[in-house]
Amino acid sequence: MMVCDMCGEPTLIAARSDPEAFASFYRLFERRVLGFFMRATRRADLAADLTAETFARAIESVESYDPARGRADQWLFGIARNVLGSSYREGRVQCTARARLGLPRLVLDDHVSETIARLTEGEEQATVALARLPREQQHAIHARVLEDRDYAEIAGELLCSEAVVRQRVSRGLRTLRARLAGEQ
C-alpha cells in the first residue's frame, strides 16, 4: 500500500502508540486547520476552539484511522467539517471531545489571536485569481506549490512530461502575479 508522507500518514499511524507523534501531527496540520476554520468563521477565537475540538476528536479516533480508506489529511479535515457542521447546527462551538479528554480551557493572547487572524489574509484574492486560471494550470500549481510534490510525480499523474508541468506552473504563477499586482 502506498503511504503518503506529505499527508501525515506515517505520523498519524505512529500516533496510535506515541503521544509525541500526535503532537507532531498537530504541528503538521495546525496552520491548515486553523485557516480552514478562520475561513469559515472569520473569528480567531472560534477558529482556535474549533481546531482544539477537531484534534481532540482526532485523538479519540486515531486508532480507527485506516490508510486504505483515505489520506490522513482527508481524514482530519473530514473531522473538521463535522465539527464545523455540528457547531453550526447547535449554534455553539462543540466541546464534547475536549470535555471527555479533560482538556483545559484555551488561553489565547493577542499575539496568538492576530497570528490566527492573519492566516487567511489575502487568501480570497489569490483563490479567486487561481480559480480563473486554466484548469491544467490550477492542478499543476496546486500539486507543486501547495502540496509541494515532485514534478515527476505530478507528470505521472497528469499523464504529461515534466517539462509540460514546469511550463504550466511557471505560466500559471506568472499570470497570478500579474493579476494580483494589477488588483492592488
Partner: protein, 450 residues
Amino acid sequence: MSIIPQLERDLLEAASRRLSSSDDGPAESSRSHPGVRGRARRLRLPVLAFGGLLASTAIALAASGVILSGAPVRPGGSPNPIVGEGVPTPGASRLLPLRVPDPEGGPPWGMRIVSTTRGEVCVQIGRIQHAQLGELGIDGVFHDDGRFHPMSADVLPETSRIGTSLSNNDATESVSCHLAGQAVAGEHLGVGRSAGGANGHVQSIARRELRNLAYGLLGPAAVSVSYHDGNTPHTALVLAPIGAYLIVQRAAPAEQVASGQEGLGTEGDLPPSPPLTAITYRIDGKLCRRGPVEPPGTAAHLTGECPQPHFSTGQLVRTRDLHRPVHVRLQISRHVVTGAEVRFIAPFAVTGARENYTIDIPTAPCHGSLGEGFVGSRLDRNVAAGALVTSRLAYPFENACGRRSVTIEVRYSTEPGAAPVLVGRTAVREPVGARPGPPMRQVTPGPHGP
C-alpha cells in the same frame, strides 16, 4: 513551533493519558469503571464461548433459511413524542428494498427509515428476515438464543443522534437521526453482527466478527457511491429517489469499536466521508462526481467534478436580542450550590427538533482566554408559545474562572442555519459562604495532570 503552544501541550498530555489508559485493556470502553473491569471480563468469558457456538449455529441455520423468531425488540429508554427525537410516527416508517449480504452469510442487512413525531428521520439498520428488520440473538444479544428478533416499525431503539451523549458505548449505535430534508452520509464502526445492543460485550468481541456499516440518504440527485473494500474499488448505485445506500464490511484489526461519524448537508452538495471516496450526482441533467472535502489549497483530482456548493458563513455571530426576563434560582443544600433553576416565558413555540431553546453560560474571559464556547443545556422538547419554561442546570459557576457571578443566557434557534435569537440574559451571583457543588464533568488527571 506551533501557533497555539498551549493546545499542542494539552493534546500531548491528553494523548498520553489516553494511551496509558488504553494499555490497561485492548478494547475496553473508556467509560468502563476501572474497578469493575476485571470482574466483568471474567464473567463474560463463559457467556461468550457459548455465544460463539450459538452464533455459528444461527448463521448456519440462517443460510438454509431456517432461523427461529424470538421476542420482539423493545424500545430503548422512555420514549416521549414531544421530547428528544420523539417517537415513530404511526405508518410513516418504511423498510427500504436494500439487501446487503453479511461477510459471513446469514440474514442480509437492511435499512429502515423511521419518521418521528418531532420531525426527525432516523436511519435504522438491522438484519432482515421475512421482510422484517430485526436483531440476531448472538454475541451477547438476547442471551445468545440464536433467534431472529423482529423490530416493529413503531420501535426506536436507543439512538445515537450526533451531538448527544450515549448512555453506553456498545453496539446500539446502529440508529441515527437527523432533521427531515437533510442529506446524510455516515458510518458506524465496530457494530456487533447481531445488529443489536450487546450491552458492552462488543468491546470483547474479535474485530473480524464486528461490522462497519456505512449508510446514507443522499437525496434525489445522487446516482452512485464509490468506496474501497480493502484495496478493491467499488461503485454501487444508490436507491432512487432518496439516494439510499448501505455498505457492510468486516471491521479492520485494531479499529476502534462502537464509534462513528456522520456528515450532514444539503442534497446534491454533500461530499463523501469515509469509507466513501466519491459520490456521483446528476445536477442540472449532467453527471458529476464530488470527492472528499480536501484540505484548503489541495486540488481534488476527480474527473467531471461537480460545481462547488455555496456555503454561507458568519451565522455564528449574528444574534437578535429580545431582552426578555430570565429568572434564575440557585438550588442550595447545606451551603452547597447543587444547581440552578432557570425560568422564562417562551416567546416562540417549539414544535419539533428543528427549533430549540438553549440555556447557555458563556465562558468568562479568564487570563486572556477568548472563550471555549458555552456551558449549558438544550431543552430538546416541544413548548407552546407563551408557556412558562423551567429548566435545571448543574452547578453554574464551574467555568466562572474564580469569579462569583456568571451570566445565564436563553437562546432560541431554528435549525439548520438560521441565526439564534437571544431571548434574554441575567446575571447570577454565588452567595457568600456557599460551597461549590459537584462539577458538571469529571476530569481525570493523567500522568502530567490536566
